[in-house]
């Protein structure tokens, strides 16, 4: 099965950069067919198949260990990649969906409700992209209107009343750009969520499981810990949009993606996200169960830690974390998580020691 995990789940939906993988998988398939007819041909391919399987695993591992930003964007949008609804099925028990923003209507692009994750009661808010076409259309392909963000805010305030930690699952290409969205001010709805979530007296865990599409993602993305699946992306603007503006053509999406650096690795370095959640070999779409387990483990572990911290401290820490993103000292930038190199750290230590010695004297 360990070998099989690299081959299942990707049936027929190979991405451009996966062509060598597809070729190898086809070869294995052909050999397997030949193997089945062993009785007639009298030739045994089992050794070859074993070898090819091993090289397939290492090829997938190698390919996925070195995805560039544009390839990552494609994996995050893969048609077989598990969506929020899949994760809810896999990790949430007794999910009680709550509908409506109490102001205008129920926006299906955001799904919210009570649930239990490994027995812990939580409030869940997530972008709902849908799975089959009918469901996708009903929930507007995960692009929320203002109502969605207002529903999110409503259930979060409800959670506050009963001290239920909040879990946000993010996977959207962005808030919906439509006439109704503007009339009911999606900008206002997102802005309110940002300020509400920044002060909410509850532990908040956010996980970007697929696409993190700018303001639409951030609208339910302020929290104490931000985790990101290994091959998810989180960008200030879709690469296509960025290319259209700066390269004057959407065809330069690849160049734009590379420049925007929207990958988990880059964002961890910038101090914007806190953790990278490893995906199964070859991406979440090759083994959704495994991906679900990884997300479940992350949420459980993180909540256990956060729930130990007094709420006031939590909120202040959340603020300070945001406060230092892109903080500048006059004339020069100081980004978070840029840990001092060993040399400077040692220098600091010796300086501090000297000072202490002086004080004592």
């Amino acid at each position: 099965m360990a070998n099989g995990s690299a081959t299942t789940g990707s049936s027929g939906a190979y991405l451009e950069f996966e062509k060598p993988i597809a070729k190898l998988e086809n070869q294995i398939e052909e050999l397997q067919l030949a193997q089945e007819q062993r009785a007639q041909t009298g030739r045994d391919f089992s050794e070859d198949i074993k070898k090819l399987r091993a090289s397939l695993v290492s090829l997938v591992r190698k390919t996925y260990a070195n995805l560039n930003a544009w390839e990552t964007v494609q994996v995050a949008r893969h048609q077989n990649r598990p969506v929020v609804a899949d994760y809810l099925d896999m990790i949430v028990q007794d999910f009680r969906v709550l509908h409506g923003d109490r102001r205008f209507r129920d926006d299906k692009a955001i799904i919210a409700g009570f649930g239990r994750i490994r027995g812990r009661k939580v409030m869940i808010v997530g972008n709902h992209k849908g799975r089959l076409l009918k469901e996708k259309v009903a929930c507007n392909f995960g692009c929320a209107h203002p109502e969605g963000y207002r529903k999110a805010q409503r259930v979060m305030k409800l959670a506050r009343k009963y001290a239920l930690p909040i879990v946000c699952l993010i996977d959207t290409s962005g808030a919906y750009p439509g006439v109704g969205s503007e009339e009911r001010s999606v900008a206002h709805a997102i802005a309110e969520n940002l300020s509400t979530m920044s002060r909410l007296q509850l532990p908040i865990v956010c996980v970007v499981v697929g696409e993190g599409g700018s303001g639409g993602a951030l609208g339910i993305g302020v929290g104490d810990k931000i985790g990101m699946l290994e091959h998810a992306y989180y960008s200030v603007i879709p690469p296509e949009g960025c290319a259209a503006i700066l390269w004057k053509s959407g065809e330069y999406a690849k160049e734009a993606a590379l420049a925007l650096k929207p990958t988990a690795k880059a964002l961890l370095k910038l101090g914007i996200i806190d953790d990278i959640i490893p995906e199964p070999l070859g991406g979440a779409h090759r083994d959704p169960q495994q991906a679900g387990l990884a997300v479940e483990n992350y949420i459980t572990r993180t909540l256990r830690r956060l729930c130990r911290v007094p709420v006031d401290k939590l909120v202040e820490r959340r603020y300070q974390k945001l406060r230092i993103i892109g903080s500048l000292t006059d004339g020069s930038i100081k980004l978070t998580n840029e840990k001092p190199t060993k040399k400077t750290a040692e220098k600091k230590k010796t300086k501090a020691k000297k000072k202490a010695a002086k004080n004592r004297a």
């Binding site: 808030a175 919906y176 750009p177 439509g178 006439v179 969205s181 503007e182 009339e183 009911r184 001010s185 999606v186 900008a187 206002h188 997102i190 802005a191 309110e192 940002l194 300020s195 509400t196 920044s198 002060r199 700018s214 303001g215 951030l218 609208g219 993305g221 302020v222 989180y234 960008s235 200030v236 603007i237 949009g241 960025c242 503006i245 700066l246 390269w247 004057k248 160049e255 734009a256 420049a259 925007l260 650096k261 929207p262 964002l267 910038l270 914007i272 959340r318 603020y319 945001l322 406060r323 993103i325 892109g326 903080s327 500048l328 006059d330 004339g331 020069s332 930038i333 980004l335």
Partner: protein, 281 residues
């Protein structure tokens, strides 16, 4: 089917023609076509005396119009971006920044400081649409946050004159996070009981609209300013439907309940002073 939008009329943020004030002794109003003597326009707060079209103005001019003469003390003027992503499109972000700094004389797209408006102390931030469309990167986010913190510390009113094309994509997610940072700081100001008046000028859109621009205790807009989240062209492309008349103008947004009042530029100073008297300490 909706008609194709006229390409020439679009400047990337508005369906209407740009309203920058052109060079020269005389100028033509792009709205009503009247020939105007430049000085007469300047004396009229850069508003067309014929049709009341509000032209876009830079941050320095806006500050001059708003505050008591000589009272503005600038803060954090030296902050500049360090290009966290080493971003490069057809042009490198570094050189783009250098060009913009040379053109505008500013280090980035916002000017912040303390001032008096008719004797009332305020923490003031004014965005300048001439600087990469007043997009918000780390510098704008940081300076706005510091302006908010000054308002909290000194218990004075916060006024932000917004104008922006949104988050600055050349700084990637660092700029998106400035939305969360500024909104969090405003939540603190709110808890402290401080007054925040948000003034929306042409154009206030996207990331800035979805953060501090829309979080004012009082939201004021200039006449016909473009106010919205997504650009009209994006909306048109997504929905393929005709956009309503006056879509995303300040008047339209006020009609839908998201702006308190629309104030002519010449009256803005008086109006702010009055509002502060109702709410200020």
């Amino acid at each position: 089917m909706a008609k194709e939008l006229p390409a020439a009329a679009w400047d990337g943020f508005s369906l209407r023609r740009r309203r920058d004030v052109p060079e020269g002794l005389w100028m033509r109003c792009q709205n009503c076509g009247a020939m105007l003597y430049r000085k007469a326009v300047a004396d009229n707060f850069q508003v067309c005396p014929e049709c009341q079209q509000h032209f876009r103005i830079d941050a320095r001019t806006r500050i001059e119009i708003l505050v008591d003469p000589g009272s503005f003390e600038e803060e954090d003027e030296k902050l500049e971006s360090a290009d966290p992503l080493k971003f490069k499109d057809l042009k490198s972000y570094k050189s783009r920044l250098a060009d913009q700094q040379k053109k505008t004389g500013l280090k980035d797209a916002v000017v912040c400081g303390k001032a008096f408006i008719k004797g009332r102390p305020v923490s003031l931030a004014v965005m300048d649409a001439n600087f990469i469309m007043a997009s918000m990167g780390a510098v704008v986010g940081e300076k706005i946050t510091r302006a908010i913190e000054r308002a909290i510390e000194e218990e004075i009113t916060l006024i932000i004159c917004c104008a922006s094309g949104g988050a600055r994509m050349m700084e990637g997610l660092v700029s998106l996070m400035q939305m969360a940072k500024t909104s969090a700081a405003l939540a603190k100001l709110d808890e402290a009981g401080g007054l925040y008046i948000s003034v929306l000028t042409d154009p206030t859109t996207a990331g800035v609209a979805a953060s501090y621009a829309n979080l004012g205790d009082i939201v004021i807009a200039e006449p016909e300013a473009l106010v919205g989240f997504a650009g009209p062209r994006v909306i048109w492309h997504t929905t393929k439907t005709e956009l309503p008349k006056g879509f995303q103008t300040a008047e339209f947004v006020m009609e839908h309940g998201f702006i308190d009042m629309i104030v002519q530029r010449k009256d803005l100073r008086d109006e702010l002073a009055r509002l502060i008297d109702y709410c200020g300490k």
